[in-house]
C-alpha cells in the first residue's frame, strides 16, 4: 500500500515537472502559428486548427534576419573558441599543478560565479568603451571569453585522470599543450561537450550583454534583433515574435540532439577509466 502511494506521488511530481517545463514551450510554439486575432483572444485558445506557417516567413522578412544571424554565429563561435583557449589551461593548472596562491586563486574564480552580470556591466562597458570596442564583435565576445563554472567543471574532470597517464605522456616527450589537448581533453569529452553546449546556449540566447554593450545594430545578435519583431503590426505581434524565437531555437535543438549522449554520460558517470 505504502509502495503504491509512494509511486503515485512520484508519478504526479514527475508529471508536474514535465508540465512546468513543457507548457511555456508549447505556448511559444502554439503562439507562433496563431493569427493575430487568436493571440489576443480571451479566454486563450490552446489549439489551433489552421496553423499560420507564414508567420515564420513574416518574421524572417520583418527584420534583417540574416544580418542578426550572422552576428549571432560569429559571436557564439568567438565565445566558444575563446573559452576553449582560456578554460582548458586554467582547469589543467588548477587540477595538476601546485603553486603558491592556488587555493586563493581558485576561490576567486569560484566567487566570480556569484557576481551577477548586472553588477559588473557598467565597468565592463566603460572599459570596452575606453578601448573603443563598443559595437565591435569584441564587445560581445570578451565579456564571455571565459567561464568560472567551466573552469570548475573541467578541473573536476581533469582531477579524475590518473596521474600516470600524464607522466607516461611526459616520458613520451609530449609537451603540456599536447598533454592537455591530446590526452586530457579527449578523456573528458563528456564534460567538454556539456560545457560547450551550455556555453553555446548561454551565448546564443544571451540578451543582456548583447543589448548593453551595443548602441547600434551593427553587431547586435538574434535575441536583440527579434525583440524588434514586436513592432510589426503595431506593437502587438506576439505571434511573429514567437515565430522568430522558434527559428532561433533550431540550432540549439540540433546541438542538443547531437550532444545528448555525451551530456547524459557526463552527469551520470563522473569517473574516468
Amino acid at each position: 500500500m505504502k509502495k503504491i502511494a509512494g509511486k503515485s506521488i512520484r508519478g504526479m511530481v514527475n508529471i508536474l515537472l514535465i508540465l512546468i517545463f513543457f507548457v511555456p514551450f508549447y505556448w511559444m510554439a502554439l503562439t507562433a502559428i496563431k493569427t493575430l486575432g487568436q493571440t489576443l483572444q480571451s479566454p486563450p485558445v490552446f489549439w489551433v486548427s489552421n496553423p499560420q506557417f507564414e508567420n515564420f516567413i513574416s518574421a524572417f522578412h520583418a527584420i534583417d534576419f540574416m544580418h542578426y544571424l550572422k552576428n549571432s554565429v560569429i559571436t557564439t563561435i568567438g565565445v566558444l573558441a575563446a573559452q576553449l583557449i582560456t578554460i582548458v589551461p586554467a582547469a589543467y593548472a588548477f587540477a595538476r599543478y601546485d603553486f603558491k596562491g592556488k587555493g586563493v586563486l581558485f576561490g576567486m574564480v569560484l566567487a566570480t560565479t556569484m557576481i551577477p552580470a548586472q553588477l559588473v556591466f557598467l565597468p565592463v562597458f566603460l572599459i570596452l568603451s575606453k578601448l573603443h570596442l563598443i559595437n565591435t564583435y569584441w564587445s560581445l565576445i570578451l565579456p564571455q571569453a571565459t567561464s568560472a563554472f567551466g573552469i570548475f567543471m573541467l578541473r573536476q574532470s581533469f582531477m579524475q585522470v590518473p596521474k600516470e597517464l600524464i607522466e607516461a605522456a611526459r616520458l613520451d616527450k609530449a609537451g603540456e599543450l599536447k598533454i592537455m589537448f591530446r590526452i586530457m581533453l579527449p578523456m573528458c569529452r563528456s564534460t567538454v561537450a556539456t560545457l560547450a553546449l551550455l556555453s553555446f546556449i548561454g551565448c546564443w540566447n544571451d540578451y543582456f550583454w548583447a543589448k548593453v554593450l551595443t548602441t547600434s545594430d551593427a553587431v547586435r545578435t538574434l535575441p536583440v534583433g527579434i525583440t524588434a519583431l514586436r513592432n510589426v503590426d503595431g506593437g502587438v505581434a506576439n505571434h511573429i515574435v514567437m515565430a522568430g524565437n522558434l527559428i532561433m531555437l533550431v540550432p540549439i535543438l540540433v546541438a542538443f540532439v547531437i550532444a545528448q549522449k555525451q551530456i547524459l554520460k557526463a552527469f551520470a558517470y563522473t569517473g574516468v577509466k
Partner: protein
Amino acid sequence: MKKIELEQVSKFYEKDVPIIEDLDLGIEEGSFTILLGPSGCGKSTTLRMIAGLEEVSGGTLKIDGRDMKNVQPGDRDIAMVFQNYAIYPTMTVRENIEFGLKNAKIPKAERRKRIEEIGGITGLTEYMNRKPNALSGGQRQRVALARAMVKNPQVFLMDEPLSNLDAKLRTQLRTELIELHQKLKSTFVYVTHDQVEAMSMGTHIVLMRDGKVMQQGTPEEIYDDPDNVFTAKFIGTPPMNVFRAEACPKSWKIPEQAHYIGFRPEHVRFFRPETESIELEGRIITREMLGAEILYKLDTPYGFLQARDYHTADKHEGNVRLWLSRGELCFFDSQENRIRSHMEEY
C-alpha cells in the same frame, strides 16, 4: 660500467621528513636490477627520480655519467612501464605505441617499420586498431611494454608492472620479460615488493627499507649470505628462521656478541648430518604438501620454526628430532647486523 648512479641522493616531500636519505646506488649497464622492499620503503620514489617524474631534493643522479638535473623525463632516453599500464584510453593500440615516436619526430616510414616489428614481438599485430577498453589485462600490459620498447630506450623502468595481473599470467609475463632483457641487452630497473619476482628475474637485487639500502647483490648473494635480519626475513618463502640467542642453550656454542641466530628452512634436517650439527626437539604443528617439497611448521622450546623437506615420501608427525648443520647458521648482533667473524673461530 655504471649506467645509472645515485650519489647521496635524498628526497623530501616535507622539510625534515626524508623519504630517502643519502642514498648511494649504482646500476650496472645491461643489468636487470630489482628495487625490492616493503611498501613505503622508497623504491618507487627512487625509480621515479631516475625517470625524472620526481625531483631529486639533494645529491646527484647521473645516467651515462651525465647529471640529470634539469633534464626532462622525455629527454633521458628511458621508457617506463606503470603498474596500472597508463595507456591512453582514447587512442588505439597503434596510436598508443606511435605517440612517443611522433613526438620524437621520427619519420613515418620508420615509425611504421618499428611498430610492425614490435607488434610481432609482443603479439599485438591483430589488435592494432582496437581501443584499450577492448583488451584484456595481459594485452594492456603488452601495449604498455610495446610502447616502451618501440622507443629503443637505453633504460627500461618498470614499476610493479605485473602486480595487476592474475597469477598465471604473471608467471608467463615474468618469463617473457627475462627473455626480453636477454634479447634487448638494455638496462632494466624493476620495482617490486614481491621477492619471488625479484629472485626469479633479477641479475642484481637492491633490497630497501625506510629509504635505505639494506643489502644489494646477486639473488644468490642475497639469499645465501644475508647482511642483516631484515634481509634474512624478507627473502625466501618461507623466510629464514630467526631465534633469539639468549633463549638458546649454551651447548650450541653461540658467539658471544650474537643476539640472533638464523637458518633457512631447507637447512632444518630430520636426520643427523655428517657435518658438525646441533640437535633440537620440536612438535609438528602443520604440514603442507607442495608436490616437490613439504613445508612443516614446528614448535620448539626456542620459538616456532619452519622446515622444508624434499623427502616427500617421509611423513613426520608429532614430536620429532631435528638437526641443524653448524656451518649453515647465520649470527646477527644486537643491531641485527650479520657477524661474520665467527667463521674463523670454528
